[in-house]
């Protein structure tokens, strides 16, 4: 009980540290601020680990612990308790956030070395970790939404961290605006829940919803929440902000835009599994959006030359798998969370490796100017290779089992659409292996294509240690979900209950599925090897020529940004021009300014009565009293 009671400290420690850093500002010198921030997140990790131990020590059915800290203004029937929930799901989330978070903080001390705003960076980073912990520890949708918005704000601040350059500021704005669209849907979803259930507490919603929610209402709620998830977790149609978000410093990309924040949508759907189970329609749509996103993003990733953009599209694609996993329900809930965790490790690792490469290459991000780095940066190379194999889904690395879990859940769901999704997922897996092989060969193999003044070097220990540490779970974490054993699935059983379905058994079907995945991933690797290692530049050009218009189409990200600009942005500008110039300035401003001026004039006029003479004051008082007397007497007479 002792440790569980202290869980409120987990988000509070990084938040307090953020406050300290914000107040100290530049007075806190360079490495110290980073260490303060890192230690704060590390302390939260230790506490989170304590929660895990406390939960393990309890019987499975008693592993949900809710504690209300205090109640914010209760207004009528609407109550906002600030309370946290420790259960198997939130515990694995906080462990991921604080564990990977602490490593990335450590890495950032090295990565941000010499930056003008070193302290500000760690202030934002700590603020983010605290907010993310609020999000996952919340015991009601409103508090979750508070965290949801806070991480969005932190994301905005960190994407635009180097705000002096205009593309970064634009990218930050884009992320913010696109997320507003998603958040709007999310808020509408919350209002629907409240209108039907009358509460936003998880406990109340999940126990009452099945009896009071019609299937149509459940579909509406889930689709609204799904809109929120497509914004936060970068799914079609709102994924466009995430690739641009790579403008932020690389540790930010690793922490926020790969491992934690973007998985909030997946977490939210898993948390709301009761609602999704009520609506098969919503489940189908969720799976469709997830798997199509997985496929489209993987296609785009093949055409990118920026080392971080490839990883960004890869993240979008992997998030698609997770969404599809939690969307299909049943065993998919646990599988989605499994992939979320595994992806958190290896994608953070890949981003940090990319950061290491970028630093080594003197802030060059174009893969066409890399090549042959495996000898210059051996640690980065080895750890990157581990992350790459994990993402590809090669036995026995983490991604192999986690991605397979989702595909198996899709296959075994047994409806036609889930098996179509399974097939598309396999295609996506093939593409994943291809684009990652392409990146691996372009960066680390072949002849050096560096600019002349570039001298690649291995990064300092502050940066390589997190790489090595992250390589361990990227390799071994798959054991948490070995088919037939399914430890993670069993661990999450108290949360998902019967909705979590039967865990994957070790039988002929499973074996066949596992083998299929491996073959697909392997062939993807081979294709990648053939095109980007074996083939000469001329052969590649011939191939591109044969493919014709497809190549520029893919390189230009399927022209989605351009399409959005034509359909939303330009008409939007025209609309704001009318609203802003005509309605706002001439109409509303006139009214507002006029009202203000009127009150100002009234104030000046009335204050003339304040002439300083006591007899005048006494007269006013007397007159006031007289009015009262007349009023009372008049009432008395009329009665």
């Amino acid at each position: 009980m002792q440790i569980l009671d202290s869980a409120w400290l987990i988000p509070v420690i990084p938040l307090v540290s953020a406050g300290v850093l914000a107040l100290a500002g530049r007075r806190l010198k360079e490495p110290i601020a980073g260490w303060v921030a890192t230690v704060a997140v590390g302390a939260s990790f230790v506490l989170s680990f304590g929660q895990l131990i406390a939960l393990v020590g309890r019987p499975p059915e008693a592993r949900t612990f809710v504690r209300t800290l205090y109640e914010w203004i209760p207004a009528g029937g609407f109550r906002v308790p600030v309370s946290y929930r420790i259960d198997p799901l939130s515990v694995v989330m906080i462990l991921l956030i604080t564990g990977v978070g602490a490593l990335i903080h450590l890495y950032a001390i090295g990565y941000m070395k010499g930056d003008r705003d070193f302290t500000r960076f760690f202030f934002y980073l700590n603020l983010f970790v605290g907010s993310m912990l609020v999000l996952v520890l919340a015991d009601n949708y409103l508090l979750l939404f508070v965290g949801w918005e806070l991480v969005g704000a932190c994301s905005y601040l960190l994407i635009g961290f180097w705000y002096q350059s205009s593309p970064n500021a634009t990218a930050a704005k884009k992320a913010f605006v696109v997320n507003r669209v998603g958040d709007f849907g999310f808020v509408v979803g919350l209002m629907l829940i409240f209108s039907v259930v009358g509460s936003l507490d998880y406990g109340a919603v999940f126990s009452i919803a099945p009896s009071v929610m019609t299937a149509a209402m459940a579909t509406a709620v889930c689709l609204c929440l799904l809109v929120g998830a497509t914004g936060k977790s970068a799914q079609i149609p709102l994924y466009v902000w995430l690739p641009d978000a790579m403008a932020g410093p690389t540790p930010v990309s690793a922490l926020i835009h790969a491992a934690t924040m973007v998985t909030a949508g997946v977490y939210m759907i898993a948390r709301s599994f009761v609602l999704w189970d009520l609506s098969p329609t919503a489940q189908g749509i969720t799976v469709a959006i997830g798997i199509i996103t997985a496929l489209v993003a993987a296609v785009i990733a093949i055409g990118q030359f920026n080392i971080k953009k490839v990883l960004a599209y890869s993240t979008v694609s992997q998030l698609g798998y997770m969404i599809a996993g939690v969307g299909v329900g049943g065993a998919g809930y646990a599988a989605g969370i499994f992939h979320l965790l595994a992806h958190g490790f290896f994608k953070a690792l890949l981003f940090l490796c990319a950061g290491s490469v970028i630093v080594g290459m003197h802030h060059e991000e174009d893969m066409r100017k890399m090549g042959g780095l495996r000898t210059k940066m051996p640690i980065t190379f080895i750890t990157y290779t581990i992350g790459f194999l994990a993402l590809d889904g090669i036995f026995p690395f983490a991604g192999y089992f986690s991605k397979d879990g989702i595909l198996a859940a899709l296959f075994e769901h047994g409806t036609w659409w889930s098996q179509v999704a399974w097939a598309l997922g396999l295609v996506g897996a093939f593409l994943t292996a291809t684009y990652m092989a392409r990146q691996w060969f372009m960066v680390f193999f072949g002849k050096p294509r560096w600019d002349e003044d570039v001298h690649p070097h291995e990064s300092p220990w502050l940066m390589t240690v997190p790489l090595i540490v992250l390589a361990i779970p990227s390799t071994l974490f798959g054991t948490a979900g070995l088919p037939g054993f399914n430890q993670l699935h069993r661990w999450l059983e108290p949360v998902f209950g019967v909705a979590g379905g039967e865990p994957e058994l070790l039988n002929a079907t499973t074996f066949a599925l596992l083998l299929t995945s491996l073959v697909v991933a392997g062939s993807g690797l081979v294709v990648g090897w053939a095109i980007w290692y074996r083939a000469t530049a001329d052969q590649r050009a011939t191939l591109a020529g044969r493919l014709g218009g497809v190549v520029p189409f893919v390189r230009n990200k399927l022209y989605v940004d351009e399409a959005y600009a034509a359909t939303f942005e330009r008409p939007g500008y025209r609309l704001t021009a009318v609203l802003g110039d005509e309605m706002d300035q001439r109409g509303i401003d006139w009214l507002v300014m006029g009202t203000g001026a009127a009150f100002k004039r009234a104030g000046a006029w009335f204050s003339k009565g304040q002439n300083g003479l006591i007899r005048a004051y006494a007269a006013v008082m007397g007159a006031g009293a007289l009015v009262f007397v007349v009023y009372v007497l008049a009432r008395g007479v009329s009665r």
Partner: protein, 499 residues
């Protein structure tokens, strides 16, 4: 009834008036200290501070007893009521007096007028305020009001070498005497109508429906409202406020603005809710009208001010209007909100005047808006603290001012008084203008327009420990009541129920 019985002294119930006794006793001790040996007035301040805290401890104990054992009782032949309402407000008076003592020390040293008698007068005045909170008899109301007022008249004129201070004292005295006469007239009429001055007895008479003269009662009610309306500075009985607040020494204003208003509201609530509850449908429209003109008048007139002390005076008038809406709503939620508002207001106004006192420098020369230009650059900490209080008074969420307005407006909405609610909302928007204008002057207007005076280069403000403590306390509670208001809201709820 035998004459001997009639004049027999009532049984003494020391416990019922323990907080008042402590304050009065401390004041006597201070006077004795001055008589015996002239010590540094800092010692008087210390004794006064300890006295207010001790009084607060007794008040807290009273509060604990009446809320846990639920035994509100009367003492001294029904003169004094010991219930949730009285204990709550007695406690708030202790807070106001404590802040008044802390903020005074540094100011009077700077002005060279630090004399120990100041603290004795302040404590006597606070003692009167506490008696007001506990008064259950119209005679007691009047005596308490005179005790607190006469001390305040003297305190307003404390800086006798400053003509502004003298003027403030004289104006306050004359108009105060005028309003006291009106109040006394009202009390006499009520006595004439009912034959008693005891509020509880009065309510019984009305419930037995044996009122001899309803006309007398109604007129008496009007004059009592007018007399107490003067104390809380409700429009149109507010005319003295800007002149007195501008002229009187700033720490006195801080104490007066908080303490006298608590006392005025205590009297008003008690007389109307206990004694004249049967006439609710007669006094409620009066209060609604009073609240409307007070909120609008205070807010609109503040816009025209260019002196910060005057502006805050009108702001305190507007606050009185918001508090009145709680009572005017006639709902338990409204009265609860009003009591919460009073507490939030005490911290905000004492803190704001505390900062203004520091920034005015020696001789209180720098109180105009132009003197606050670019204040953030020159006094970053004080400017931030003042800006914070201004935000709180404007009712920005996250501060106690927001919760306070929300709480009273909840009561108004419960009573379906939409006119009052609309006016209240509009008035709070208007008031945001002049609060934020001062913030703009402090933070965003370094350049001087043509024809305006360049801000003078002033010496840095020095901090005394007592001032720091006072400002930290006021800031802390303004935040705390804005984020975690439930504790005080519950207290205020109990204070209204135990009438």
């Amino acid at each position: 009834m035998l004459i001997a019985d009639a004049i027999a002294a009532p049984p003494s119930d020391w416990w019922a008036i323990a907080p008042q006794l402590v304050l009065g006793g401390t004041a006597v001790v201070i006077i004795l200290m001055i008589c015996v040996k002239r010590v540094d007035p800092g010692w008087n301040a210390l004794v006064a501070a300890v006295g207010t805290v001790a009084s607060g401890v007794f008040a807290w104990e009273q509060w604990r007893q009446v809320t846990t054992d639920a035994n509100p009782r009367l003492a001294y032949s029904g003169m004094i009521a010991v219930d949730g309402f009285s204990a709550f407000l007695v406690l708030v008076v202790c807070v106001a007096a404590f802040l008044g003592v802390l903020l005074a020390d540094q100011y009077f040293k700077r002005e060279g007028i630090d004399r120990g008698e100041y603290y004795a007068l302040l404590l006597f005045s606070a003692c009167g305020m506490q008696f007001m909170a506990a008064a259950n008899n119209l005679v007691m109301v009047f005596v308490a009001l005179e005790l607190l007022s006469i001390c305040l008249y003297v305190l307003s004129a404390w800086n006798r070498d400053d003509s502004r201070s003298q003027e403030a004292g004289a104006k306050y005295l004359l108009l105060g005497a005028y309003s006291s006469a009106i109040l006394l007239f009202g009390i006499a009429l009520l006595y004439g109508g009912t034959g008693t001055t005891n509020l509880a007895r009065m309510a019984e008479i009305f419930s037995e429906n044996v009122t001899r003269e309803p006309g007398l009662v109604l007129l008496g009610m009007v004059f009592v409202i007018v007399g107490l309306g003067f104390k809380i500075a409700a429009v149109p009985f507010h005319m003295w406020t800007p002149d007195v607040y501008q002229g009187a020494p700033t720490p006195v204003v801080g104490f007066m603005a908080s303490g006298a208003k608590i006392a005025g509201f205590a009297g008003l609530f008690r007389v109307l809710e206990t004694g004249l509850a049967a006439f609710e449908f007669d006094w409620q429209p009066l209060l609604v009208g009073l609240a409307i003109v007070t909120m609008l008048g205070g807010s609109i007139l503040a816009i025209a001010q260019r002196d910060v002390k005057r502006m805050l005076a009108y702001s305190s008038i507007a606050h009185a209007g918001f508090i009145l809406t709680g009572l005017a709503s006639g709902t338990a939620a409204g009265v609860r909100g009003a009591l919460f508002y009073l507490v939030a207001y005490v911290f905000m106004i004492a803190g704001a005047f505390g900062v203004v006192a520091l920034l005015a420098r020696r001789g209180e020369r720098y109180t105009s808006l132009d003197d606050y230009r670019d204040m953030f650059r020159r006094e970053p900490v004080l400017a931030t603290v003042l800006a914070f209080f201004l935000f709180a008074m404007a009712g920005i969420p996250g501060t106690s001012g927001f919760v306070a307005k929300f709480a009273v407006f909840t009561g108004v909405a419960d009573a379906h008084q939409w006119v009052l609610l609309t006016v209240g909302t509009v008035a709070s928007v208007i008031s945001a203008y002049f609060y934020l204008r001062l913030v703009v002057y402090m933070y965003m207007r370094p350049e001087v327009d043509e024809g305006e005076a360049q801000p003078a280069a002033l010496p840095r403000v020095r901090w005394a420990p007592a001032t720091v403590v006072a400002l930290v306390l006021t800031v802390f509670f303004t935040i705390q009541l804005g984020i975690l208001p439930q504790g005080l809201l519950d207290m205020a709820g109990k204070a209204t129920l135990l009438f």
